[in-house]
């Protein structure tokens, strides 16, 4: 599904990662800093030490109320006032996991207090009340393309005149349940991620992340000129080996980028097969575009990654410098992979892409408005 009609604008955007806000995160990536640290995968219950990037002061273990609530309240202060959740000013809350760690804690401890934040609906309702929003709040959740879907829905609402402006909030904070799940899938282990690098085995890291974007038809310095989502529905954790799923999504954005010079912010979690397919697909859709991935430093922030990394991409364009692909050693998977940071003043825009379990793909083209 490609949408390149009535482009809308990103009027405001921000994020928080273990490095801080978007500017601090961008600066850290330019330095090649890594937010990932070895953390016992099951928190206080131990287990293998795996690379996780937690917000400063946060524990992996669940608390009631969640200890990430303070981080969202802090992010809320960066969101412009706007009577969010009132008619014409909808909020789209997106993420993979919401407070799902609380359900595991409920199972382990029997403490019913954990249930209050456990499910997406109850979690979002509590957030809505805590952050002072009106009732027009929708939940969007589709694994690691959640943020892109939220952006697409917000864009359509604004484009169709159903919203004056729309707010997208995306967050994913780690817990033993989430880390344990990826560990059980054998893709989170003791190895640190090396996105877009050739190697014997791939590995991911996971990270805390939250971000917001205000989508507007009128104001804003950045235009979302094309957005595309596609689900290849191949296997739950594997893509078609010919990369056609990636092609179908990126082709939907490539048409809008034709004749323009772009750089490519990829998904790049550190898995081998998907990394190779993505690099090759980016080369086909956007010949000559340098490909960067930042999850080798930030970890994979799951459902929030599309919006967290949009905030960093905007900071990159604003500053004139794009951080290179952080993490690992070894030969890059393609000549288009940019390992070092580069000046982006000569580029017309950036394509941001994310991919998810179940073969979901999403991408958009961001240019100066």
């Amino acid at each position: 599904m490609a949408d390149s009609s009535s482009p809308v604008k990103v009027a405001e955007c921000g994020c928080i990662t273990p490095f801080g806000d978007a500017a601090a995160t961008h600066a850290a990536l330019l330095r090649g800093a890594c937010a990932l640290r070895p953390v016992a995968v099951l928190g206080r219950e131990g287990g293998q030490a795996v690379p996780l990037a937690l917000l400063p002061g946060r524990s992996l273990d669940e608390t009631v109320p969640p200890d990430w609530l303070g981080a969202l309240r802090g992010l809320r202060r960066a969101i412009p006032d706007g009577d969010w959740g009132s008619p014409g000013r909808p909020v789209f809350v997106t993420g993979s996991n919401f407070g799902v760690g609380g359900l595991y804690a409920l199972r382990r401890t029997g403490d019913p207090a954990f249930a209050a934040w456990g499910a997406p609906a109850t979690c979002t309702e509590r957030l809505r009340a805590d952050l002072g929003w009106g009732p027009d709040v929708s939940i969007v959740s589709h694994a690691c393309v959640s943020a892109h879907l939220g952006l697409l829905l917000a864009s359509r609402a604004a484009s169709a005149g159903l919203a004056e402006e729309a707010l997208v909030l995306s967050f994913d904070f780690l817990s033993p349940f989430v880390a344990g799940g990826f560990h059980a899938l054998k893709i989170l282990n003791a190895s640190f991620p090396a996105p877009y690098r050739l190697g014997e085995a791939g590995a991911i890291g996971l990270g805390d992340g939250a971000a917001f974007a205000v989508i507007s038809r009128g104001r804003g310095a950045w235009a979302l000129e094309a957005q595309c989502v596609y689900n290849e529905m191949h296997q739950f954790t594997a893509n078609r080996g010919d990369g056609s799923g990636f092609d179908r999504c990126l082709d939907g954005v490539a048409a809008a980028a034709r004749g323009r010079r772009v750089w490519f912010k990829g998904h790049g979690t550190g898995t081998l097969d998907a990394g190779r397919l993505e690099v090759a697909a980016a080369a086909r859709a956007f010949p000559g575009a340098p490909v960067v991935g930042w999850k080798g430093s930030l970890g994979h922030t799951l459902g929030s990654c599309g919006l967290v990394e949009l905030a960093v991409a905007i900071e990159s364009v604003r500053s004139g410098r794009t951080p290179g692909t952080v993490g690992g050693a070894g030969a890059p998977m393609g000549e288009n992979v940019a390992l070092e940071s580069f000046g982006n003043a000569g580029f017309d825009g950036v394509v941001c892409a994310s991919n998810a379990f179940g073969g979901a793909h999403a991408a958009f083209l961001l240019c100066h408005a």
């Binding site: 059980a184 899938l185 893709i187 085995a201 791939g202 296997q235 739950f236 954790t237």
Partner: protein, 91 residues
């Protein structure tokens, strides 16, 4: 003479993955387990890995290692022989 480990693995594959209409003897030694005639997918592979780890006391560290181990029943048997606990010496 059939290799007992290979026979056990075939039985375990059928049991673990609830392969209806397929007998252990129907699984060729050399056919790819994932992406081959059994139509196993990535989740099937994961389920199999968990079962193998429990049964043989091995630890498969990554999805790539799992793919190599599951290249075929023959490859899997060789993988397990290399990594499972060595037999205790006799008296």
């Amino acid at each position: 003479m059939a290799d007992p480990l290979t026979e056990r693995l075939k039985q375990l594959i059928v049991e673990t993955l609830h392969l209806e209409g397929i007998a252990p003897a129907d699984i060729p030694d050399d056919e790819p387990l994932v992406g081959g005639g059994l139509s196993l997918d990535s989740i099937d592979a994961l389920e199999l890995v968990v079962r193998l780890e429990k049964e043989f006391g091995i630890k498969i560290a990554s999805s790539e290692e799992a793919r190599r181990a599951l290249a075929s029943v023959k490859a899997l048997a060789a993988y397990i022989r290399e990594r499972s606990d060595p037999p205790r010496p006799g008296p």
